[in-house]
């Protein structure tokens, strides 16, 4: 049973435009959500997070939106840059427990 789902395996966006990566979850116990970015042959690196008591968190070009009623979150990257090309993983967590990851979305920024 996959508790975190990233239904788009890949996404291509023109440089300078907005990239929107989506994530759905089924576990209503999750109280914290994180986005990780992964380059080839490297480990995931933390990007941005959001607590379940908030509906938006912004950090520079990156904004995460949380819709608890829909059990949906999204990551917006504006403007998209070539260095943003990577695999993005969404993860949920309940309390101090482990991270539960999605399958990832490969983002390609087209120059």
């Amino acid at each position: 049973d996959q508790q975190v789902k990233q239904n788009s395996p890949s996404l291509s966006v023109q440089e300078g435009r907005i990239s929107i990566l989506n994530c759905d979850y089924t576990n209503s116990m999750f109280d914290y959500f994180l986005w990780y970015k992964k380059y080839p042959a490297e480990g995931p690196t933390f990007l941005i997070s959001i607590s379940s008591i908030k509906d938006k968190n912004e950090d520079g070009r990156f904004t995460v939106f949380l819709n608890k009623s829909a059990k949906h979150l999204s990551l917006h990257i504006v403007p998209s840059q070539p260095g943003d090309s990577a695999v993005y993983f969404c993860a949920g967590r309940f309390g101090n427990e482990k991270l539960t990851f999605g399958t990832g979305t490969r983002l390609t920024i087209i120059p």
Binding site: Q2, V4, G43, P44, T45, A91, K98, L99
Partner: protein, 113 residues
């Protein structure tokens, strides 16, 4: 400050052999996690150490997998005997506090042939 380091970066072994993966967490990080990603799928939790104690090992696939963290510093993950389905990338991560983000190592790519 050194990040999380994993050794080896790649390992190719035959079915039935034994492999030991090592993880050195960031110094001072009490929490150490092992995760695994099988080709194209999600990154799945294996287990969590707090210092030298196993806090949660609910993700360990079976008793062919043995994780240790003697002295609460580095950790090893041994697979014995390895099976074909054990192939994947094994990630180690560490965090200082439980409610903070975890820092990941570069991973060990294990191929069982």
């Amino acid at each position: 400050e050194a990040g999380v380091t994993q050794f080896p970066s790649h390992s190719v072994i035959e079915k039935g052999q034994t492999v030991t993966l090592r993880c050195d967490p960031i110094s001072g990080h009490d929490n150490l996690y092992w995760y695994r990603r099988v080709m194209g799928k999600e990154i799945k939790f294996l287990l969590h150490f707090v210092k030298e104690s196993k806090q949660d090992e609910s993700g360990m696939p079976n008793n062919r997998f043995l994780a240790e963290r003697t002295g609460g510093t580095y950790s090893t993950l041994k697979v014995q005997p390895a099976e074909l389905e054990d192939s994947g990338v094994y990630f180690c991560a560490s965090s200082q506090e439980l409610n903070t983000e975890a820092f990941f190592g570069q991973g060990t790519r294990l191929t069982v042939v």
